[in-house]
Every structure is written in structure tokens, then in C-alpha cells.
């Protein structure tokens, strides 16, 4: 059913991702799909990494750890943005296209009042992506 599954990952806040990551792993195992973690970082130093290269390494390490625990191979792909706050949705969409994903599994918070002003990344993705999107709440 699915052959390329993509999961957007926020290394600064990894805890709320657990459910989405587990879901993606299960789906990848079930369909024998490849699994890719994608992430967007700022070019400036962030709490996670001093520079984009270090960020890429940390994302790979994060995937390796998950992969060892779950026994499913995971690829990674990191993107840098000049203005990540605004551009993150655009890059996630491009990441999904670059990896030929046919399913995106994305973690999202419960919609609240603030979502009337600007929506969640998961909601934006589901609204614009040509492939299937699984929003995990």
C-alpha cells in the first residue's frame, strides 16, 4: 500500500513525537516501506546544534537510536531555512516530494483557539500535500 513513509521530526521537542514515530515504525514494518525522518533547522546556531552540519549529524544519531530500538531502518534528511518559523511548512512539503513519499506521518497538537489565526504544521501539510497524510494527535 505504501512504499515511502516520511516523518517530520522536531529535535528541539522530541517527546511529543513518540506516538507519531511509533505509528510510522509500525506502518513501515507492516507495508515493508522505507522510513525517512526529515527535519528543518535554522542556519543560525540553535538550542540543538551550533551549525547545520551538526544538526544533520544529530538527526542521523536520533534516527539510529530509534532504528536500533525498533529494528526498522531509518533514513534522514535535514533542510536549512533562512526563516524556519514561517518556511517550515514549505520545506516539509518539499521534503515529502524529494523523497517520493506516499505517506506522511506527522505529530500535531490538539487544535485550539490559536489555530484559528495560524494553523498547525500538520494541518497545513494535510491541506496542501498531494500524498496521504496521517495526523497523529
Amino acid at each position: 500500500m505504501y512504499s515511502n513513509i516520511v516523518v517530520p521530526v522536531d529535535l528541539a521537542h522530541p517527546d511529543p513525537l513518540d506516538k507519531a514515530l511509533a505509528t510510522a515504525t509500525d506502518l513501515a514494518r507492516h507495508y515493508g516501506a522505507t522510513l525517512t525522518y526529515v527535519s528543518v533547522t535554522a542556519e543560525t546556531p540553535t538550542a540543538v546544534a551550533h551549525n547545520p552540519r551538526e544538526f544533520g549529524e544529530k538527526l542521523a544519531a536520533f534516527a539510529r537510536k530509534r532504528s536500533e530500538a525498533d529494528g526498522v531502518a531509518i533514513d534522514t534528511k535535514a533542510y536549512t531555512a533562512t526563516d524556519p518559523t514561517i518556511d517550515v511548512d514549505r520545506y516539509l512539503l518539499r521534503a515529502a516530494e524529494d523523497t517520493n513519499a506516499d505517506l506522511v506521518v506527522v505529530a500535531s497538537h490538539k487544535p485550539g483557539l490559536a489555530d484559528y489565526f495560524w494553523g498547525s504544521h500538520g494541518g497545513k501539510l494535510a491541506g496542501h500535500a498531494p500524498m496521504s497524510v496521517f495526523v497523529v494527535r
Binding site: P45, F55, I86
Partner: protein, 552 residues
């Protein structure tokens, strides 16, 4: 080299760079309070103190307006007249440091690590340099300043030289030409190497310490080589708060004055008398500019600021090309080279800090400009830093120092040269004479010059649009900078914070415009130029130290 390079998957190693080893983590002092449905991510205590100090200052200025205005104005006078030598020396040092780095092997260092690639095309990069730091000034002073120096009856002409127009009558042609050359040289001096060197030093330092050394993108990081781990404590808090303060007041007062200028321009085009003094119109303009800035920050750096900057650069290019074509075309082309020659030959006389007798010019204009550029340098520098990753230091200084100087010279030649030409042709009959010398209405000087060229209604409208859009780009790039500083160097803080700063800045401008106090706070903002100049000299040391440690 495309704008999309930032979207490519990360290239393998970015190449060697000298990451500073500190235990400080970006955002470690940040707090994340919940404000209604919105989550925040702000630096503690920089955000709170900056906000509180700004509110307190606005209230105090409004309540004690009559008392504080003379104090702040006197303070500005004291700073520029007593420390003019210091500003001039500091300015010269900044130029020397930049040129020194340009020709030394340090120029080979690449911002962002040896293998980093640029995020923006030359066009987008340039457009943003001008839009953030100078566009608005070029609109305001392009006609005003050369005309003023050519015929000032107030005794503050550059180098105390002969004027071209005395008591409403032109002097002999040879002296007229000499006066024109001096006026243009002095103007280009104020908009050339010196201001761009100040911006370049701050921008280069910020970019180096963030992109190469891995420190947070905030002003305090520059001082790591000097203060060490103390920059993460109160030493750094004070530096950052000062930077926020100078940026917000610099922007808000400019926004206030700018709205009055735009209102005056609209009144001029529509033939409505006194629109420039009409507070309601100005407040409506501030509201409009703030809304546009809000839309722009919500569209992000690439979708907002960059697009608007490019739009403005094209529009400014069209206006300039039009003035060159319908104005004295050949004269302007020939004058461009003669003006550059005048700038070169008067360069040392103009930048000499001691033993001069042109106090009115040196203190009232040069020192004031230098203080003003320096007080804007944290904001413009930080914005330039943010968009300059992937350039080598040599490329950076060429594009932030040398080429902008040339562009300023072309702009000043076009607008100032045409205006002086009009004065030479019609003396007291010319519109610019009326607005600059006869009755001093500086905000109408540009429109006066355009009114004597064909299609004045169209060109004046373009000029008004340019003024407004330059304010939008200054306002949104400034808000991005303040947001980053008050979020401890995070450029990915929640959107609601930028909305807060854009709105806050518009509010401060509107309140000051209605309640009075713009003059006082502008004087205050300019006065921060003095401590910043000292801080920047320290910054030069840190910059050179930092560059020497980089692999070349």
C-alpha cells in the same frame, strides 16, 4: 547560485570552522510562558526588561514632555559637539579595519564555514542591504543635503568653503562649480564608506560569531572573545537590552517622522495644504505601514522582506533612471566621475578629526550622522548578518562597503546633481531653493525637485510609494531583529512574538506622534551612538581576533 540553495538537502560537511567551545546553549535562559492560547519563547530577562524600559520611557516622555525635551536635545547637542573628534576618529578606524580585512588574507574566511553556500542571490542580497539600512535616508536627503551645502545661509557649509549661491545670487561660474563639487563630496562622504563600514563591522562580527563560532545570533556574542563566559550574564543582558532599545526607538521615531514626510508628500501631490502637520493622516499612515509590515513578517524573510526589497529596488531604479533621462543626462554622467574625484580628493580633509574651523558642519552634520548610523548599526548589522551566510569575508566587504558606496554616489549625483542644476539655472526661482534655503521644509525638497521635471504627478507618486515601502521593510526587518535578540538568539521563535514587536513599534510611533516627544526620543536614540561607538571599537578587536582563529 540560486535562492533555493537553502532548500537543498544539507550538503555534507560545511567545511572547517572554529566553533567556540562554551557550555552555553542557545535559549538556555529562555522561558516559555503561555499567553492565552499562544505559547511564547523569550529570553529572561532581556525581553521583559526591554519591554518595560521602553514603556516607561514612552510614558515619562509623554508626561514630562516639556521638561525632558530640552534635556534630551541638550544631551544630543553635548554628545555631537563635545565628542565630534571621537566619532570622526572612530568612523575612520571602522573604514580602515574594513579595508585592512579586505586586502589581508583574512578576506578568504568564509561566513558559515569553508564550504557554506550563499542563501540569497546578489540581487536579493543587495536589495535587502539598502531596504533595511539606508533607503529611507536616501529618499529624504538625496535632494536636501547637496542643495543645503551648496547654498546654506546658516554658516555650516563643509570645510567652510565658498558657497555657490549667496544672498539669492549665483557667484561666478568657476566658484559655482567648486561649490557644487564640495557639496557633492560632503554628501557622498556622509553616505559612502564610513556609514557602510559601521554596518559592515557589526554585520561581519555577528555573522562570524553566529555562523562560524556557533554562538547565538545576538549582539552579546560579538564580545565573547573579550568578556568570555560573562557575556551570558548581566554584561550580555545590558548589551542586548541597549541594542533592543536603540533599534526600537530608532525605528519608532523614524516611523513617526517618516509618516509626517509621506503625509506632506501626499498633500503636495493632491494639492492639500498642511497635510504634513495633520496628525490624523500621519497616524493613519503609521497604521497602514504597520499592517503591511505585519503581513510581510508573517510571510517570512523570503516571501516578505526580500520580495518587498526587490520591488523597491526596481521602483527606485526606475525613478533614478527617469531623473537621469529627463534631467541633464550628459551633465550627470560627467558629474558622477567628477563627484567621485571630489570625494576622493576631499576625503582626508572631511574625515580629519582635529584643527578644523567648520564646527557647524562637522558637529551638526558629520558627528550627528555618525552617531545616527552607529545607533542603527545593531539593527542593520544584525539583519545584514542574517542574510549573508555563505559569502567570503572579501566578497562581503566588497558588497557591503564598496558597491553600496558607489550606489550612494550615483543616487546622490542623480538627485542632488539635478537639484543643484535647477538652482544654477533658476536660482531663487527654483522650487528646491524655496524648500531648502528660503523656507526650510526639508520633507518637500525631493518633491520640489521632481515638480520641475516632466510627469511630476507620476514621479511624486512613485516617490511616496518608495518612502512608504522603505518604511515597511525597515519596520519588518527591525522587528525580526528585535524578536531574535529578545528570544536569546533564536530565529525560530513563535510567530506571535514578531506580531507583538511590529505592533508595539507602530504603537510607540503613533503614541509619540500624538502625544509629542518624537524629537526628544530621537535625540535619546542618537545619544546611544556614543556608548555604542566605544562598544564597537571593542568589537573591532573581537572581530579581528575571531577572524584570525578561522581556517583560511
Amino acid at each position: 547560485m540560486s535562492d533555493d540553495s537553502s532548500g537543498e538537502p544539507l550538503p555534507p560537511p560545511e567545511g572547517a570552522s572554529d566553533v567556540i567551545d562554551t557550555d552555553y546553549e542557545v535559549g538556555q535562559n529562555n522561558i516559555t510562558p503561555q499567553l492565552g492560547p499562544f505559547g511564547l519563547d523569550i529570553h529572561n530577562p532581556v525581553f521583559a526588561i526591554s519591554g518595560a524600559v521602553i514603556v516607561a520611557f514612552v510614558i515619562l516622555t509623554l508626561v514630562f514632555q516639556t521638561q525632558v525635551e530640552p534635556i534630551f536635545t541638550a544631551m544630543r547637542g553635548f554628545v555631537t559637539s563635545s565628542f565630534d573628534w571621537f566619532f570622526l576618529i572612530a568612523g575612520n578606524i571602522f573604514v580602515l579595519v574594513c579595508l585592512g580585512i579586505l586586502i589581508s588574507p583574512l578576506g578568504r574566511v568564509r561566513i558559515g564555514g569553508a564550504d557554506a553556500t550563499p542563501d540569497f542571490s546578489y540581487l536579493g542580497w543587495f536589495a535587502m542591504l539598502f531596504a533595511a539600512g539606508m533607503g529611507i535616508g536616501l529618499m529624504f536627503f538625496g535632494v536636501l543635503e547637496p542643495v543645503y551645502y551648496f547654498a546654506t545661509p546658516w554658516g555650516d557649509q563643509p570645510l567652510s568653503r565658498e558657497l555657490g549661491l549667496v544672498d539669492g545670487a549665483l557667484v561666478d561660474p568657476v566658484a559655482v562649480d567648486a561649490a557644487r563639487r564640495t557639496a557633492m563630496a560632503a554628501t557622498i562622504y556622509h553616505w559612502g564608506l564610513h556609514p557602510w563600514a559601521m554596518y559592515a563591522i557589526v554585520a561581519l562580527s555577528l555573522a562570524l560569531f553566529a555562523y562560524n563560532k556557533g554562538l547565538p545570533l545576538t549582539v552579546r556574542s560579538i564580545f565573547y572573545p573579550i568578556f568570555g563566559e560573562r557575556v551570558w550574564g548581566w554584561t550580555g543582558h545590558v548589551i542586548d537590552i541597549l541594542a533592543v532599545f536603540a533599534t526600537l526607538f530608532g525605528l519608532a521615531t523614524s516611523l513617526g517622522f517618516g509618516a509626517s514626510q509621506a503625509a506632506a508628500g501626499i498633500g503636495f501631490v493632491l494639492g492639500i495644504e498642511g497635510l504634513g502637520e495633520n496628525v490624523t493622516t500621519a497616524v493613519l499612515l503609521i497604521l497602514g505601514i504597520t499592517v503591511l509590515a505585519l503581513i510581510s513578517v508573517l510571510r517570512g524573510l523570503e516571501g516578505g522582506v526580500k520580495r518587498l526589497s526587490e520591488f523597491n529596488m526596481i521602483l527606485a531604479g526606475i525613478l533614478m533612471a527617469f531623473v537621469i533621462l529627463v534631467g541633464p543626462t550628459l551633465v550627470l554622467v560627467q558629474q558622477f566621475f567628477s563627484n567621485l574625484g571630489a570625494y576622493a580628493s576631499d576625503f582626508f580633509a572631511l574625515s580629519n578629526p582635529i584643527g578644523r574651523d567648520d564646527d557647524g558642519f562637522r558637529q551638526g552634520w558629520t558627528a550627528f550622522y555618525w552617531a545616527w548610523w552607529i545607533s542603527w548599526s545593531p539593527f542593520v548589522g544584525m539583519f545584514i548578518a542574517r542574510v549573508s551566510r555563505g559569502r567570503t569575508v572579501r566578497e562581503f566587504i566588497t558588497c557591503v562597503l564598496l558597491i553600496p558606496t558607489l550606489v550612494s554616489a550615483i543616487w546622490m549625483t542623480t538627485f542632488g546633481g539635478t537639484a543643484i542644476d535647477q538652482m544654477i539655472a533658476r536660482a531663487t526661482e527654483s522650487a528646491v531653493y524655496g524648500y531648502v534655503i528660503d523656507t526650510y521644509v526639508p520633507e518637500l525638497s525631493l518633491f520640489g525637485m521632481l515638480s520641475e521635471l516632466p510627469l511630476a504627478a507620476i514621479t511624486s507618486t512613485i516617490a511616496i510609494i518608495l518612502v512608504i515601502v522603505f518604511f515597511v521593510t525597515s519596520s519588518d526587518s527591525g522587528s525580526l531583529v528585535i524578536d531574535t535578540i529578545t528570544a536569546g538568539g533564536k530565529i525560530d521563535a513563535p510567530v506571535v512574538q514578531r506580531i507583538f514587536w511590529v505592533t508595539f513599534e507602530g504603537l510607540v510611533a503613533a503614541v509619540l506622534l500624538i502625544g509629542g516627544g518624537l524629537v526628544a526620543l530621537q535625540a535619546m536614540a542618537v545619544s546611544t551612538g556614543l556608548p555604542f561607538a566605544m562598544v564597537l571599537l571593542l568589537g573591532c578587536v573581537a572581530l579581528i581576533k575571531g577572524l584570525m582563529a578561522e581556517p583560511r
